[in-house]
Symmetry: C2
Subunit: 129 residues, 2 copies
Amino acid sequence: MVDAPRNTRQRRAVVAILEDLDGFASAQEIHDILKRRGESVGLSTVYRSLQVLADAAEVDALRNDDGEVLYRQCSAGHHHHLVCRSCGRTVEIEGPSVERWADKIADENGFRDVAHTLEIFGTCSSCPA
Amino acid sequence: MVDAPRNTRQRRAVVAILEDLDGFASAQEIHDILKRRGESVGLSTVYRSLQVLADAAEVDALRNDDGEVLYRQCSAGHHHHLVCRSCGRTVEIEGPSVERWADKIADENGFRDVAHTLEIFGTCSSCPA
DNA sequence: CACGATTTGACAACGGTTGTCATGACGATT
DNA sequence: AATCGTCATGACAACCGTTGTCAAATCGTG
Ligand SMILES: [Zn+2]
Ligand SMILES: [Zn+2]
Ligand SMILES: [Zn+2]
Ligand SMILES: [Zn+2]
């Protein structure tokens, strides 16, 4: 049994931001938002908090084209994302048939410990071209 | 009309490596292979060559979990990959129904300039657990 | 050849992320 | 409420893949 993490002001602040945001955001963006709100939290702490949350599967993480990791508090269960490249706005999507297809392909080729990444990127209707 | 790139020893060497490899490899791995073969090419040049090839869609590029960009000379046309996390061995896969599904989802949600990433990662049958 | 334009490569710089470690905060226990 | 061991924090440096710089080398055209 692992000790529960301590309930610190900083961790609460990061979680609060994630609850407010509806899209994906980078660690640095979250750090900036905290600073703007006056609830300053060290950048290292933001990174660590997000890591812990991601390891516990409390937030989803994905990489954008630039290689930055983006985080978002999603609903539970396996799903994928339709993400606006510009503002981060996100729609959770499910594709049961895709899941089955991916597993079948991997199995047919003798691959073990299989995982898949599937994200759709675009520009949302409220963002300029 | 853009000028054709020059036919230099270095560019030829990088292309030759890509032709030999059957899996994805990082710029640094390719650089190491070249050094081992005695056909040394500067690291910057390897990066630049791969960029040019990727821009011209002559090689595919994807990011692994660690954020490194991996390159591979693939067959033409849109496809996805089943990649061994351990040795890079790769199977090209196609999923027409997935393509249609992704476009439909994006359209239904009013997203423009849509692209998608879909990769399957696992351990291939010739790699240890 | 000779020449101009492109490419190369050693090196520095960049940007996101992770490591370090002295300081401070949490919370279980008195 | 005060004590105390432990964990978390944050300023800073280090890391690592990648990109920028620019003088020198190379290409290929004439
Ligand atoms: Zn899935
Ligand atoms: Zn948007
Ligand atoms: Zn393998
Ligand atoms: Zn596709």
